[in-house]
């Protein structure tokens, strides 16, 4: 064994050990165990501790990860195994030392909650798996053995045979799909797509009535973020304008609906639909007004200015100056509900409304992306100078992108305000803009499935996993960093459409797509 291996694996082990200690210091181990316990169907009452075995599950997963990441990608098998074992050993040692410290504090009843709030006695006892000093040994043993197991797993799963097997499965699936498509009559293939859409529609229609108002609320939030994401994607993903102030445009839609359709402060009762239309138009005007002075800015500079724009709008809404007009810090209350056949909207109807709005947005987006306009936007993002020299009026198209994107944001804002029956300055903070930005980037620029996935991951999950409440931002940040490292193009990266076949009727067999370098790799 050479020194290099020992050095790198001991570093890995130490790192994982320290991270584990940190997680315990913020009480993450308790929370994670609670979550695992719930996932496995054993409910944990508030204020009580989950069973220790759920913490062991967490530990097992963590320790396997240690071994997995310690095993280097190249080199001899025995070296890799040793790396895993050694990293596990070091991590175990670190954790065990920490455990020893906790054990000592438990024995002497040293209370350090004054300095480390999370580290209560029950939490310490829980970390030692309710076994006292034996827990230390269990920790040490687990880490060492599972480190070895993790590296063995890494060796096994990264081997040539597994790669071959994966490839084989992939080919088999493709073949099966081809065979099914060939076996089915042409009409089924042609209209099967619509069948799937129909099924989806039925599911979407039935779900809101079945799963209760809380889920409708969460789902609505996700849907609104999808619409916002599409709006931002037109600015950022298609035309390449780094916009961080989308919350301001969102606010314009929301406040239009709020002010035109509530008793206080203006007493205008225009009804929901006209005010929603006004909201969309207002957002478009906002986008235009924002766009005019910033046409010459690019990249980070544009980001800073739009960020400032978002803050200006929020501060204006919050200020005393405009209290008579916008309701000031208290916001606008009692926004009237839209009605359907005489009955005001309930949560199910709102879910439907959001589904329809989402479907319309997605439809519009696809139509736009594969049009002359969409391609002009894309070319501006790629190289504005060359785009202009190719005949594209760059300023006009950039403004157009801002306005179209703003329309989507206004739509989402209007629905948001009516659904909550309230809107105030705090609904339109910088965090909203950043969330939308994260949704688009984590999901994948220019990819609708990506944006939907991103909305569920970043907006839906935190709502559903209320356990994580305290650590939401921590997990959020960690997730972003992790995503950017592992999938820099987003959860579901976009691919460019295949167009050559469409342009050459009757020549299909002549065009032979080559193996590598295709756009959809």
């Amino acid at each position: 064994m050479n020194k290099e291996i020992i050095r790198s694996s001991s570093q890995k082990g130490l790192l994982f050990g320290i991270v584990m200690i940190f997680l315990v210091l913020i009480n993450f181990h308790l929370m994670a165990s609670t979550m695992i316990s719930k996932l496995m169907g054993t409910n944990v009452l508030r204020g009580s501790l989950p069973e220790a075995r759920f913490f062991i599950i967490f530990l097992v997963l963590y320790a396997i990860w240690v071994g997995w990441s310690a095993a280097s990608r190249e080199g001899k098998t025995i070296h890799k195994l040793f790396e895993g074992l050694f990293a596990g050993l070091i991590a175990g040692l670190t954790v065990a030392l920490f455990g020893l410290l906790l054990f000592y504090m438990l024995e002497t009843q040293t209370d350090i909650r004054k300095y480390l709030t999370a580290l209560s006695f029950p939490s310490m006892r829980f970390f030692l798996l309710d076994m006292g000093e034996l827990g230390i040994l269990v920790h040490f043993g687990l880490f060492t053995l599972l480190g070895l197991l993790g590296s063995a797993l890494a060796v096994g799963l990264r081997s040539q045979k597994v790669a071959h097997f994966k490839q084989g499965v992939k080919t088999a699936i493709t073949n099966l799909r081809l065979r099914i498509t060939n076996a089915l009559p042409e009409s089924v293939n042609k209209y099967g797509k619509y069948g799937i859409y129909l099924l989806l529609l039925v599911i979407l229609f039935l779900l809101p009535t079945r799963w209760g108002s809380y889920y409708n609320f969460v789902f609505g939030m996700v849907g609104l973020y999808v619409i916002l994401g599409i709006g931002l994607n037109i600015m950022l993903g298609l035309s390449g304008q780094f916009m961080i102030g989308i919350a301001a445009l969102f606010a314009m839609g929301a406040y239009s609906v709020a002010l035109l359709n509530s008793p206080i402060p203006h007493g205008l009762m225009w009804g929901f639909w006209p005010s929603l239309a006004v909201g969309v138009v207002m957002a478009v005007i906002g986008g235009l007004l924002l766009g005019l002075p910033i046409m010459r800015l690019r990249g980070d500079y544009l980001g800073i200015v739009t960020l400032g724009f978002g803050e200006i709008i929020r501060i204006l809404l919050n200020s005393d100056l405009l209290t008579d007009i916008t309701g000031g810090p208290r916001g606008v209350q009692n926004i009237q509900q839209p009605t359907f056949l005489g009955t005001p909207f309930n949560d199910v109807m709102y879910a439907y409304l959001i589904i329809v709005a989402m479907a319309v947005s997605i439809f519009l987006y696809y139509r736009l992306e594969n049009s002359r306009t969409g391609r002009a936007w894309l070319s501006i993002k790629e190289d504005a100078l060359v785009a202009q020299a190719t005949g594209i009026d760059v300023q006009k198209y950039k403004l157009l992108a801002l306005c179209v994107g703003a329309a989507f944001a206004g739509l989402a804002g209007g629905i948001f305000a009516a659904r909550n029956q309230f809107t105030g300055p705090n609904d339109h903070t910088l965090m909203v803009s950043i969330n939308v930005l994260s949704v688009v980037i984590v999901g994948g620029l220019n990819s609708i499935p990506g944006i939907i996935l991103g909305s569920f991951a970043l907006r839906g999950l935190p709502e559903l996993l209320r356990e994580l409440e305290t650590y939401r931002l921590l997990v959020f940040g960690a997730l972003l960093v992790f995503m950017m490292l592992v999938r820099p193009d987003g959860l579901w990266p976009a691919s460019r459409p295949d167009l050559e076949e469409k342009g050459s009727p009757g020549l299909k067999e002549d065009i032979e797509p080559a193996e590598e370098g295709r756009s959809n790799d």
Binding site: L364, R367, L368, S371, R372, T373, G374, R375, A376, L378, S379, E382, D383, L385, V386, A387, Q388, A389, T390, G391, I392, D393, V394, L400, V404, R496, P497, D498, L499, E500, K502, G503, S504, P505, D510, I511, E512, P513, A514, E516, G517, R518, S519, N520
Partner: protein
Amino acid sequence: MTEYIIETIKVSKSFGGLIAVNEVDLQVPRGFIYSIIGPNGAGKTTLFNCISGFYTPESGNILYYGTPIQGMPTNFISSQGISRTYQNVRLFGNLTAMENVLIGLHNKLNSNLLDAVIHTPRSARENTWSLQEAVRLLEFVGLKGFGDYLANNLPYGLQRRLEIARALANNPRLLLLDEPTAGMNIQETTDLTQFIKRLRDELEISIILIEHDMKVVMDISDRISVLDYGMKIAEGSPSEIQSNSRVIEAYLGPGGAALAEKYQKQRRNSHA
């Protein structure tokens, strides 16, 4: 209408203290392949940038079919039928070859936002036409079957061709080619030379060419201008340029003319 497709009259452009283009006069007759040569830093690309609208010349006029176009925005100049390629290939790298050509067709299409959203007959018609046109152009430049590749993933020679296809999509009357054979091997260079000739002969496009490969220049040019330190030092047919002593000096330094004469004499003697 004049017989010249493009005419520059005392065009000057400087950057700070450096005069990149100094009162250059060019007259490019219609249907010509007109080459601009000169040592590195002579101002050739700057002149191109002035013609295509990237730079506004400080003084002088650029006449296209007799109308001044200097200082106009690049998209306007492009819409008038002037297309160009770039010294370092500048494609829309993350888009496919087809999309690159379709963007090149921008001037030829009219559908707007509303057409795109509600699929009017006009947009449907334009859509079909533009796709077919793009395929035809790809075929013309020899990129058939590569249409769905990302431009970045194409080999270098093909990227050059794709750039020409994008320029041709604009249906230009004047094509500015900035060092089209740079970085190509001998075979690719020969192919491209033939291709440029075809452009002129089949599509009747006038071409201005910046090129360092003298074999290419002498082979296909109808007329050549030589720039040095921003000034035009010579103009004429290929054979005139070859024997011009100022040109040889610009390339080989002072005394170069004598050197070249000596070399040519030697060669003649050895042949004899």
